[in-house]
Symmetry: C2
């Protein structure tokens, strides 16, 4: 018979591709919320709250990663397990991203059993974690929130990536979706930054990632690039100073990417340095840092994350990278944390 999604939901979206004209029943004006997608869109967003999907779509708009979106609301008929099972079987979907307020009796057990069989990453953010939150969820989607500690342990056992807050959900979806074809082979990380404090802050955020020991050949290469003589090439988190220009920056990153002792790389850019083509007038140049980093990410299979900690003036610079497959974060902390989570997941598989 006919299956029903909802009630108290906002509709569904399926991105058009090739001959398939797609589907969009979300009731939000297109002017107010453009859903950007591309041939590389590979993620389904399953959400109990319609507004949650609106905010996540908008915050991740430049990344163009949603192939499908389902706002499922109060789950009168179709429930979370139905949706997870369906999308896990779709070849165009690499990643399942969920927002959950509460699970019906038995629904949690079903979900965790199913998750164990699914080879694709599942990222969940669950609200209604505290007593006050549970009361609010009951008033919103009539959900019974259950014990968050039990939920957390079950996620861990089922291999589900649990985002502890809403911003982590955006951050993890970004890295898992955009690097879905860049499976890491180990947890040794190196980084290139043009601000010393970012190497310090980045090092503080390492959890399961380990600082790589650079190969002597790499250090020899770095010393050739280091023609100002200002860079300490003995550490794997290179502070290349604000004097580095676009080409030097990219050369440092490439040397590190080529090192067999390095499994993944972060690049943090404070784009205010005058030596860099990062402003609206020159960031689109073919030899700008954004385009050079995009080229490197296409040339090498190792996962790369980027941090650009800056205001509105540098959004074009960020957009070039985001629209070309690089996960860009607004600060080094969230970049490293997301990379750490991504690598940890894949090494545990």
């Amino acid at each position: 018979g006919t299956r029903i999604i909802g009630p108290n939901c906002m509709g569904v979206f399926w991105a058009p591709s090739g001959q398939d004209s797609g589907l969009n029943t979300l009731f939000v004006q297109e002017k107010r919320l453009e859903i950007k997608y591309s041939d590389y869109s590979n993620t389904v967003l399953l959400t109990q709250s319609g507004a949650f999907s609106v905010t996540e779509i908008d915050r991740l708009q430049n990344n163009r990663l949603f192939k499908a979106i389902v706002s499922f609301g109060n789950k009168y008929d179709v429930n979370i397990t139905d949706l997870v099972g369906y999308f896990a079987g779709q070849s165009s979907i690499d990643l399942l991203a969920l927002y959950v307020e509460g699970l019906d009796p038995g629904e949690g057990r079903q979900l965790f059993q199913l998750a164990r069989q699914i080879k694709k990453p599942i990222i969940i953010y669950k609200s209604g974690r505290t007593e006050a939150g549970a009361r609010a969820a009951a008033s919103h989607t009539a959900s019974i929130s259950g014990s968050y500690e039990v939920f957390k342990s079950a996620c861990l056992q089922a291999g589900i990536v649990l985002a502890e807050n809403i911003e982590d959900h955006y951050d993890y979806v970004k890295v898992f979706a955009m690097l879905a074809r860049k499976i890491p082979s180990g947890n040794r990380v190196a980084g290139v930054v043009n601000a010393g404090f970012e190497s310090t802050v980045g090092a503080d955020e390492l959890k399961n990632l380990k600082q790589a020991q650079l190969n002597p050949e790499t250090i020899a290469k770095l010393n050739i690039i280091n023609r100002h003589g200002m860079v300490d090439t003995s550490t794997p988190f290179l502070d290349i100073t604000p004097m580095a220009d676009d080409h030097m920056y990219a050369d440092y990153v490439e040397a590190v990417l080529q090192d067999p002792n390095v499994d993944c790389v972060f690049v943090a850019v404070v784009p205010h340095s005058v030596t860099l083509k990062t402003i609206p007038e020159n960031c689109h140049d073919q030899d700008s840092l954004a385009n050079l980093l995009v080229d490197l990410s296409k040339k090498y299979a190792k996962p790369i994350v980027i941090s650009v900690n800056a205001g509105r003036y540098y959004q074009d610079f960020v957009s070039i990278m985001e629209q070309n497959g690089l996960p860009v974060y607004t600060d080094i902390r969230s970049a490293i944390k997301s990379l750490d989570r991504f690598v940890t997941y894949h090494l545990a598989k």
Copy 2:
């Protein structure tokens, strides 16, 4: 004799005001980093890393809150205590914001003793917390990082607000600076949102804040505003649905602000709703939600924080509020967390 700031620093800034022409020795192109200030700028940023100040200035640019900035680097002569003592004595400074990588022997003890005597809020983010971070700090500013746990306890005892990460530093500086004249009288919070998930997520983030019990008179007022009959007025975190227009939104917020059982308020806006004047073409109207909320914040003494979880298209809407004294956050979690921290600090005073 002459005192020396630095070496390995980026200079100092003092905002012009009235007859005072100010001072700016920071060596960053003005085009690439405009430092916005106003007659209300009331914060000094003291930072061991010049690049940290660049990123924080840029991220908080719309808020126009820095009166002074000092990049102090390796502290050959002038140290942190000298700077804290000096700026604490300046009548134009309400808030001291610090980024620290490491303290010299004895400097920490001096700082914590001094902090106990200072009545102005001091917010610190300290990197070099882990072993890897400490090594990076040593290579950056030759700092000895020391034990982070000891540092944390000392901050707690001295009444210093410790930001656990870089984004919390931005978030806390915003709320403490912008609400410096809005000292809370209690920890009872109410909220108005147009997306149910935000009341759930917001409730989850309460720590020392408590959900207010709305006065029966307030509930009566809310029931009059609630002419669509969709809003559950029995809870202090009102989900006013996407049907609310600008005036209804503001009316709900005003009713809550007038309640004697409410000490502080958060407002979360998902601005994509067609009923709201939040897009570039209409957000500047005098009766737009942004301007109505600004009016309310001028009319009432209670602290208000705002969350606007959206992309680039809604930045004008956000800017109107930020430039007129409202602390705006990109998600409900950081809004509530910052308000919680702000209220907790003032109630402990």
